[in-house]
């Protein structure tokens, strides 16, 4: 795996700087988005989470060098993400699917 990474320390440093700038910008954007007037909370949450996901992608991709990982690790993480998504979606769906005629209080 060492061949896929720069061997020069300064190139690491440069990459780190870029990542840091992205992270700081993302944090700034998220804070800005949370103060947007004229938007409902659900919209704002969606915007903020979208920014956070991009931020997470950069951190995972470059700091954890996931963009150039081995197939084995992708496979493991692929299944994990699928099952987490299943847990989220099915649980939340199950809690909001009511038998016909259910009366809410």
């Amino acid at each position: 795996m060492s061949d896929s990474h720069p061997v020069n320390f300064n190139s690491y440093l440069r990459r780190c700087l870029y990542v840091f700038i992205v992270v700081v910008c993302a944090v700034g954007l998220m804070i800005g988005a949370s103060y947007l007037p004229n938007y409902q909370w659900p919209t704002k949450v969606a915007i903020i989470l979208a920014i956070a996901s991009c931020n997470a992608f950069v951190v995972a991709g470059f700091l954890m060098h996931l963009i150039s990982e081995k197939k084995m690790i992708y496979t493991v993480l692929g299944f994990t993400v699928f099952f987490v998504a299943g847990l989220f979606v099915l649980t939340i769906y199950a809690m909001h699917d009511f038998p016909a005629g259910t009366q809410m209080h």
Binding site: M72, T80, T91, Y93, A94, M95, D97, F98, P99, T102
Partner: protein, 625 residues
């Protein structure tokens, strides 16, 4: 069979330029503490797991006998053990009578102990630890010290669970599923101990799972390609993945329940919860169903954690004792992968009665039906493997053969529970008790017995006594069925589970209004079955005595056997007995699949996996130094 292609050269120590120099450990005889208690050798850890788990299973069996007595004879003092119980447990067992609270706590702990402290550690950790590295030709597990840590976490977790019996108020009483808000409302500390014990056990399983997967992926011997791995290794591989990914949500839930208990949060406590007729002083806003979702997200995959290693063991033994290759090895592999995958998306079929809507119920019903297909494929492959074999009926094979129909009964009776219409009637009755016990008790436990009889010669160099093995087998088989078969009838008649008096009060109240014919009442015949089950259970307990004696007796006095007494093909038999530290005395290379039995033209009726193709010299097994 010309599969001699080698993927890459075997690993040699010289390849690692800075390899840590640890010779000198190699020829030292470790002392008692480092050799048997704090050992990092996977074989010792496997035996530690096995011994501890068997002790817990015996304890779980004992709890079950006490409960059966209480069900059959509610309010009568327990014979023989009554005074002892009163002495140890005090008030809850006053006069040797098991109070309903104590019954609840025995019920919860019987489930917890059998699942988390008995069968998972025995099937997954013990057999996995001892056999998997040997089967894939590895020197040890990938992370030996992590391996030791996972046993210690397990032991500690077991200790916490065991100690909880003796604290004031006794052990947890909210069932092995620990549903909130019940689990948080019981004003004793048993539940706290249960959660802490569970967090330790989950951590242990996670470390074990990481270790197993890394070992199987990284440490296979040269030539041991994926499709040359014995099915047992595949089963353990999938099991490890299930443990890895299904346990953490329960750990999350356990942490939240811990917060509910200790920090008085309301994760699982709804607004307006009343405890003992009083409005609880909580902030509310929690969701009891959330606990159920997170619990069953583990809970259902857990069923496959219990059953897959058992299927793996049975496959090895059937291949070995029919002296022919397993029929449909690849189907088995794909089926076990499919089971592992699907097991994550069926969990809410345990929750049909929680008020879920029809859409989501239909989804989970569909996935539940789909998952039965690969399970049936596995069972069918094993049945067809018997066809035309010259079967050797030794004790391991008897247990393995009995596994097939017993698991079949357990699996097929699960189908009515998977359909949400029939589940409405059968939910929480003795029917479901019978169903999952058929899967786990005569199913998995029989396979585990088979595994113990089968690999005992590898661990000790001696075979267990055949005659007493057969006595153990036949008695277990007969009494197991006598215990669980009547429960199907009881459940279909409407007897609910978890009732401390076995439904006597409930039945009496209904019958008082119009006799046994009234809907919901239980007839005297159904109630009388409790007594039958009790004595069958006692006999089942007694039937384990030959086994216990056999194990200890055979260590010293069993028939001495060679390195490969069953004439098996897999790698664990191609090494000295018991295997030395580092497992193999010669370099292992694999040239063929796992089940090459009765290959025409071969001198013996088995061809070991590491035997080079004809033309090359046969490998010699070096003797242990």
């Amino acid at each position: 069979m010309d599969a001699t292609v080698q993927q890459f050269p075997p690993y040699r120590k010289e390849d690692a330029p800075h390899a840590h120099d640890d010779h000198g450990h190699e020829h030292h005889q470790p002392g008692f503490w480092s050799g048997y208690v704090f050992s990092t050798d996977h074989k010792i850890i496997g035996i530690q797991y096995g011994f501890t788990a068997l002790c817990f299973m015996l304890f779980g069996l004992f709890l079950m006998l006490l409960m059966r007595w209480q069900i059959a004879h509610p309010g009568m003092p327990v014979p023989v053990f009554g005074p002892l119980l009163e002495k140890i447990l005090g008030q809850p067992a006053a006069k040797g009578i098991i109070s309903p609270d104590l019954y609840n706590s025995f019920g919860a702990m019987h489930g917890t102990i059998m699942v988390f402290l008995g069968i998972v550690p025995l099937a997954f950790a013990a057999f996995g630890n001892y056999v998997v590295p040997l089967m894939i030709g590895a020197v040890d597990m990938a992370f030996p010290r992590v391996n030791m840590a996972s046993y210690q976490a397990y032991f500690l977790g077991g200790l916490v669970m065991f100690i909880s019996f003796f604290i004031p108020g006794g052990a947890a009483q909210a069932g092995w599923t620990s549903y909130s808000p019940l689990a948080t409302s019981i004003p004793t500390h048993g539940q706290l101990f249960w959660i802490i014990g569970m967090v330790l056990l989950i951590s242990s399983s996670l470390l074990g799972a990481v270790n197993f997967i890394a070992t199987i992926i990284q440490l296979r011997a040269p030539g041991m390609t994926w499709l040359r791995m014995p099915f047992f290794v595949w089963a353990q591989f999938v099991t490890a993945f299930i443990l890895l990914l299904a346990f953490p949500p329960l750990e999350a839930a356990a942490i939240m329940q811990l917060m509910d208990n200790v920090a008085h949060t309301s994760f699982f406590l709804p607004t307006g919860l009343a405890i003992g007729g009083q409005l609880a002083h909580i902030s509310g806003g929690g969701s009891p169903l959330l606990w159920q979702h997170l619990f069953w997200f583990l809970g259902h995959p857990e069923v496959y954690v219990l059953i897959l290693p058992a299927m793996g063991i049975v496959t090895e033994i059937i291949a070995n004792n029919t002296r022919k290759p397993i029929w449909g090895y690849k189907s088995l592999v794909y089926a076990v992968l499919a089971v592992g995958f699907l097991s994550f998306i069926v969990w809410a079929h345990h929750m049909y009665l929680t008020g879920m809507g029809t859409k989501i119920s239909t989804f989970f019903q569909a996935t539940t039906m789909i998952i039965s297909i690969p399970s049936v494929i596995i069972l069918t492959c094993l049945f067809i493997s018997l066809w035309g074999g010259s079967i050797r009926f030794n004790t391991p094979m008897l247990f393995a053969l009995a596994f097939l129909p017993m698991f079949g009964i357990g699996g097929l009776t699960g189908l009515p529970l998977g359909f949400n219409i029939s589940d409405v009637h059968l939910h929480d009755t003795y029917y479901i008790i019978a169903h999952f016990h058929y899967v786990v008790a005569p199913g998995t436990i029989f396979a585990l017995f088979a595994g113990i009889y089968y690999w005992f010669p590898k661990m000790t160099g001696r075979r267990m006594n055949e005659f007493w093995g057969r006595v153990h087998f036949w008695c277990s088989l007969i009494f197991m069925n006598l215990v669980f078969m009547p429960m199907f009838a009881q459940g279909m008649a409407g007897m609910l589970r978890r009732m401390a008096d076995g439904g006597a009060n409930y039945s009496a109240a209904v019958n008082a209004r119009g006799g046994a014919e009234v809907i919901g009442g239980l007839s005297d015949n159904i109630m009388a079955l409790h007594v039958w089950i009790l004595w069958a259970a006692v006999a089942l307990g007694i039937a384990q005595i030959p086994f216990i004696i056999n194990v200890f007796w055979s260590i010293k006095h069993g028939e001495k056997v060679g390195d490969n007494p069953w004439h098996s093909t897999t790698l664990e038999w191609q090494t000295p007995t018991p295997p030395p530290h580092g497992n193999f005395t010669h370099e292992i290379k694999v040239y063929r699949g796992p089940y090459e039995y009765s290959v025409p033209g071969h001198a013996t009726d088995f061809t070991p996996q590491n035997e080079p193709p004809s033309g090359s010299p046969a490998p010699t097994i070096a003797t242990a130094h």
